[in-house]
Each structure stands twice: as structure tokens, then as C-alpha cells.
């Protein structure tokens, strides 16, 4: 991966991450700017430009640093938030909602970690019991951690606040930094997965399924809590068989009891993302079935189809031995 240009806010010019990244990409042109938001997303940059014309912004995030997660985003019955530590992703999943979310595929890394942790602490104080904080709503939580070096600091913060649950969501197998750290019960690493044939074709540039599962197994053995997101589930007549095989793989490689939760979510798009995905990947196997507008305005499979799909996937995991309490539907209406 190569950044063609690096935009650096003046205030993070001397930041250790800035220095590290500039050393790593000496050939990238650099621009010193006042504020990333003067440039990032100001004009629409086509999503597929990320393939060979990717820019990186090193910036500080102002304003809201922690936001409530949407309904049915995480395990039910507990408050969920996500925090903003970066925008956009180096991977290219054909269904990714980011292709219709920002006006640009360029990567933004926010380096004001202390501000972000302070905002998390403030938000957490509002709740008595467990409260979840998710990284990776707008990016992959682990894909660039070798560049940012942010994990030790982040994990130390959450170890010091055991009532806060941290979830790192990823499609990578970039776990070297995690293995060097001390795990804790409130540190969850979750892997988004699909049956192998979809991982290979649709999750472009991500770690292969086997690599993700091996990484999950290593982390589970080390003591991290592990989650999986079967999301998006793509319809095919043999979906149940495919997910049965996937459930067996998880059982063999990680073990049923080592899995804290598995979310199930049928393929869906915000309208903008649907239009972008149709334009970017018109021949994608995602579009071999019918879609309709759900009651929440999202573009989804027709309700009977997605209900059937979710039930079949759920029963595939139950038949392998996973418990109903380990499974939940994500963002389903």
C-alpha cells in the first residue's frame, strides 16, 4: 500500500505518529494544512481512486469524539457507543457503506488520542453498569495499527476502566501488537467473516478467512474475548450449508466457549452506498438477487427472503452447538 500524498495538520507535525509515517513513506508528497476538514471530502473523490491515488490525512478530531451506536448495533440490552479515531479503510469490500458515506476514500487518522480517551471516560461516567465502546465504525480497527501504534495506549486506557468494554472490529489478521499486550476481560476483538467464497470475491484486499480465524484462535488462547460478525450475509440457495461449514470451522479452530458473541446481519445498504456499490461493482455477485426498500429506508432483500436467510444462518450455528445467547441479529428491522 502506498499513499500518494500525505496531508498533515500543522498541530500534529511533530507528533510521533507523523514522524513514523513520514519515515515509512518518504516518497509521498506532503502538504502542511491547517485543518483536514478544509480538504478531506470537500470535493467528491471517486471511491475507486483508493486503488492508486490514495491520500492520507494526519489530523486531530474536533467536536463529537464519541457517538451513540445505532439501534441493534451490538449485543442487546447494553449501551453501545463508537469512538472516532480514523476515517476510511485500506480494504475494498464491495458492500462497504463507506463508499457512499464520505465524499472521499482517503484515509484520515486522528492523533489526539488523549482527547478521544477523555471523551470516552466522560461518556462512560453516565452509565452505572457495562458500557460498550466500538472502534472501527468508520475504519478497520486493526488494519493500520502497525502504522499508528495506537493500540498500547488504547488498551492501557481500557484496562484501567474495566467497566468499559472495548470492541476492535477487523477483517485483518494484523494482531502482532495485540499479542504483545496484556489481554483483559473487557478487551474484545471481533472479526467480520463470511463463507470463504465470499471472502475471496467480495472482501477485496482483506485477510483470507483462514488467516482471520487463525488470528482469532491465537488471540483467544492469549486471553482476549472474541466475537464474530457474520455480516453481511449474502443470499444464495446454499447459504445454510455455507454457514454450517463456517460454524464448524469456528468450533474447530477457536472453540464454542471462547466465542463471546456472533452477530448475524443480512446484506443491506444505505441508499447512497447502494448507488455507489452498483456503480463501482456492477458485476458483483451481491446484485444477483432482488432488493427492496425496507421500512427504515435502507435497501435490503425483501423481508421474507432476509428472514429466511437469518433463520437459516442462525440454525446453522445452533446445530453446530453454539447457544442462542451467543447469537444476535444486527441492524435487522
Amino acid at each position: 500500500m502506498m499513499f500518494k500524498k500525505i496531508f498533515i495538520e500543522e498541530r500534529v507535525l511533530e507528533h510521533e505518529v507523523t514522524r513514523r509515517i513520514r519515515n515509512k513513506y518518504p516518497q509521498a508528497a506532503t502538504e502542511i494544512i491547517e485543518n483536514y476538514s478544509d480538504w478531506f471530502g470537500r470535493v467528491r473523490k471517486p471511491y475507486l481512486e483508493k486503488r492508486d491515488n490514495l491520500f492520507l490525512y494526519l489530523a486531530t478530531k474536533q467536536g463529537e469524539l464519541v457517538k451513540p451506536a445505532p439501534d441493534a448495533y451490538g449485543t442487546p440490552g447494553e449501551p453501545h457507543y463508537y469512538f472516532l479515531h480514523s476515517y476510511n479503510c485500506i480494504y475494498e469490500c464491495e458492500y462497504c457503506y463507506l463508499q457512499g458515506y464520505f465524499q472521499s476514500p482517503d484515509i484520515v487518522l486522528f492523533l489526539n488520542y488523549d482527547d478521544i480517551f477523555a471523551a470516552i471516560a466522560d461518556t462512560g461516567k453516565k452509565h452505572n453498569g457495562k458500557v460498550w465502546f466500538h472502534a472501527g465504525e468508520f475504519s478497520d480497527s486493526l488494519a493500520l495499527n502497525h502504522l499508528t501504534g495506537e493500540l498500547p495506549r488504547m488498551l492501557a486506557f481500557f484496562r484501567a476502566h474495566p467497566q468499559f468494554q472495548l470492541e476492535l472490529r477487523t477483517k485483518s489478521a494484523n494482531i502482532a501488537a495485540l499479542l504483545r499486550e496484556q489481554p483483559a476481560e473487557n478487551l474484545f476483538v471481533s472479526f467480520s467473516i463470511s463463507p470463504d467464497k465470499y471472502t475471496r470475491t467480495i472482501d477485496r484486499k482483506t485477510a483470507p478467512l483462514n488467516a482471520r480465524l487463525r488470528a482469532a484462535a491465537q488471540l483467544a488462547q492469549t486471553g482476549y474475548s472474541i466475537g464474530f460478525h457474520c455480516d453481511p450475509i449474502i443470499y444464495s440457495p446454499d447459504a445454510k450449508k455455507n454457514y454450517h461449514e463456517l460454524a464448524l470451522l469456528i468450533k474447530e479452530m477457536i472453540g464454542i466457549n471462547a466465542v463471546a458473541y456472533i452477530s448475524l446481519g443480512a446484506l443491506r445498504f444505505a441508499e447512497e452506498s447502494y448507488r455507489a456499490a452498483r456503480a463501482n461493482y456492477p458485476e458483483s455477485i451481491m446484485f444477483l438477487d432482488e432488493f427492496t426498500r425496507g421500512s427504515d429506508g435502507k435497501i435490503r432483500y425483501p423481508r421474507p427472503l432476509r428472514q429466511m436467510l437469518l433463520k437459516e444462518t442462525e440454525s446453522a450455528f445452533l446445530e453446530v452447538g453454539f447457544q442462542k445467547e451467543q447469537l444476535y441479529y444486527c441492524m435487522e428491522v
Binding site: 508528497a29 502538504e31 470535493v43 491515488n53 432482488e290 425496507g294 425483501p302 423481508r303 421474507p304
Partner: protein, 334 residues
């Protein structure tokens, strides 16, 4: 037909010489027609450009399938520009002063160079630094041309002769002195660049004995495309599997045959979903027969029954109430 757009006459000179153009009936001093192409000289101001390209495209109508623009561009950042004298444009951004336009246009050249069209001339060092953050090249005209093309559903392709970032007056003098050479190089480049690309949708042949309205035709095209890919079949195989031959034999109007064919292709797309919908429609039949109007698609999607009805007399009241009482929702039988 291809439309060739230039800002200035000197850049178009060889193009005009090499083809038998005649003056068009509109914009007679700047718009020219030949058998398989048209050529427009727009001038330099973005508003004039957008207006003139739009007028030309409206005049050409469906005859125009592709627009090409050739011209000059100023190099803002050499780092991203190849050593060739001419560069194809990949993305065109636009700016009015320091205000960047939100929309950008992809010009369909994967390995091209990015360009920003500025409504004002880029003169100061500050301007250079500002604009090069976004693009390696700058001009005044491409964005306006791309915008007009976009309005007509046509994609623009553009190639630019590159000029160095030098003193403006010196730069103009150079261009004037080299005008013929630049025009010749652009013309040479255009020979390989302008292979005909029909930007309009291909014609779709409708099977004999069938009739499709416009919306049915769109649906037919979409279903055919998906089914070919889904089952790895060619068109004939898809239609055979959809039972086209049997539908053709039926005593129906061509339009009814078209509707039956679409229905058969829809069933082929996802037999399970089709069956659910069929059963659902079946379960709604008594309600419809009793006079209820039902939004079946939304009812199924929302998991509620959305119906409306008009009761004119006691008899209708009883039969519609009876139908409601007897209705059994089969949508959850999945």
C-alpha cells in the same frame, strides 16, 4: 457520432483541415458538422462553454454518442505527471476562485492525470500551492464541458497538451509560436484515443410476438442480465428456461405475452421468493374479492396488512368484515 470540443481555434486547426466539415445551422462561426462527427469551438469562459456545449448536444440529440475534448493544461505538480507531452485526464475537479465545487467528474481513463478547472486564471504562487493539493494539472474549460455532458448522460474523454508552469506572458508567447505543432500533436494523439465508444445503452432486441412498454423493457434487460450471470447462461438459454416458447404459443396479446415472460423470468431469479409471494397473493385473494384494496408489497415488507376500502351498503359491510375475519396471514410461513 462523436463531438470534438476545443476552447480555441488554433488547437482545432488540424482537426478542421483533415475532415470535410461544413458549417452547422446553429452557432455558425464555431460549430461544424461532418458525416460521422461534429466539432465545436467554445471559447474560454466556463459559462459560455457550458451553454455552447449544451446547445450543441441538444442539436445533435441521440446522434451523439461520445464527446472528446482536446486542449492545453498547465502543470501544477510535475511529480504526478508523466514525461509525455500529452496527458489523458482521469478526474476533473472544479473551482470558482478558492471555492471548490462539490461535484467532480470521472472521465473514464483509469491511468490518467487529475485536473482542476479554475474559473479564473492561476497566476500567483499561492494559487499554485492551493490547487496542486487537489490535482496535478489545471485549465479553465474541462469542468464546464464535463458538466454539460453529464446533463446529457454522456461521458467526456479528454486529453491535454501539457505546458510548463512558467511566466504567464512567456507561456502565452510559447503557445502562440507552437500553435501548429501543438495542434498537430493533439490530432495525432486523437487518432488512437477516439475509438468509437457508444455511450448510449445498446439496443435490446425484443423477442418476436412480444411487446414491452418502456418500463417493461428496462425490467426485461435487468432480469436478462442478472439471470445470465447467475446461472451462467446466454440469452437464448435464459429465455428457454423461462418458457418463452410456451408463452409465445398462448392466445394472448403481445403485451400480455411480455408480462407473462417477465413473470417467468422473475420466478427464475429466485424461485423461493417467488413462491412466498405467490402464496401471499393467494392469501389476499378473498380480501380483494370482497373489495379491499391492498398494498401487498409494503404489507409484506412491513409485516402488517395495509388495506383500504369503500363501503357503500350493508351487504358490502358484511362481506368485507367477513373477509377480514377469515383472512389468515401466510406471510410468516417461511
Amino acid at each position: 457520432m462523436n463531438l470534438f470540443v476545443f476552447s480555441h481555434r488554433p488547437e482545432a486547426s488540424i482537426f478542421l483541415q483533415e475532415h470535410a466539415y461544413r458549417t452547422a445551422p446553429i452557432m455558425t462561426e464555431r460549430f461544424y458538422l461532418a458525416d460521422d462527427r461534429a466539432l465545436l469551438i467554445t471559447g474560454e469562459h466556463p459559462i459560455e462553454i457550458a451553454a455552447r456545449v449544451s446547445r450543441a448536444l441538444a442539436f445533435l440529440g441521440d446522434n451523439c454518442s461520445q464527446v472528446y475534448h482536446f486542449g492545453l493544461a498547465l502543470i501544477l505538480e510535475k511529480f504526478f505527471v508523466s514525461n509525455q507531452p500529452i496527458a489523458e485526464i482521469r478526474i476533473c475537479y472544479g473551482a470558482d476562485g478558492k471555492n471548490l465545487w462539490q461535484k467532480s467528474f470521472s472521465l473514464g481513463t483509469a491511468n490518467g492525470t487529475d485536473l482542476i478547472s479554475s474559473s479564473q486564471r492561476i497566476r500567483s504562487l499561492e494559487d499554485f500551492i492551493f490547487f496542486r493539493r487537489l490535482a496535478a494539472l489545471a485549465d479553465r474549460e474541462t469542468y464546464a464541458i464535463a458538466m454539460a455532458c453529464d446533463e446529457f448522460g454522456l461521458r467526456l474523454r479528454s486529453a491535454k497538451y501539457l505546458i510548463e508552469n512558467s511566466d504567464a506572458i512567456e507561456s502565452c508567447r510559447q503557445i502562440k509560436n507552437q500553435a501548429e505543432q501543438i495542434a498537430y500533436e493533439l490530432f495525432q494523439y486523437a487518432q488512437n484515443f477516439t475509438q468509437s465508444a457508444d455511450a448510449r445503452e445498446e439496443n435490446l432486441s425484443v423477442p418476436d410476438g412480444f411487446y414491452f412498454t418502456h418500463s417493461m423493457r428496462l425490467k426485461y434487460r435487468e432480469l436478462l442480465h442478472i439471470l445470465q450471470k447467475k446461472y451462467n447462461l446466454n440469452t437464448d438459454e435464459v429465455l428457454a428456461r423461462g418458457g418463452m416458447a410456451e408463452i409465445k404459443k398462448q392466445k394472448l396479446t403481445p403485451k400480455e405475452k411480455g408480462l407473462h415472460l417477465l413473470d417467468a423470468l422473475q420466478r427464475l431469479l429466485n424461485p423461493e421468493l417467488y413462491e412466498i409471494r405467490r402464496k401471499y397473493e393467494e392469501s389476499l385473494a378473498p380480501l380483494r374479492n370482497a373489495g379491499w384494496k391492498i398494498d401487498a408489497a409494503q404489507s409484506l415488507e412491513q409485516g402488517v396488512l395495509i388495506l383500504s376500502g369503500k363501503i357503500a351498503n350493508r351487504h358490502e359491510q358484511i362481506s368485507m368484515a367477513q373477509a377480514l375475519l377469515e383472512y389468515q396471514d401466510k406471510s410468516n410461513d417461511v
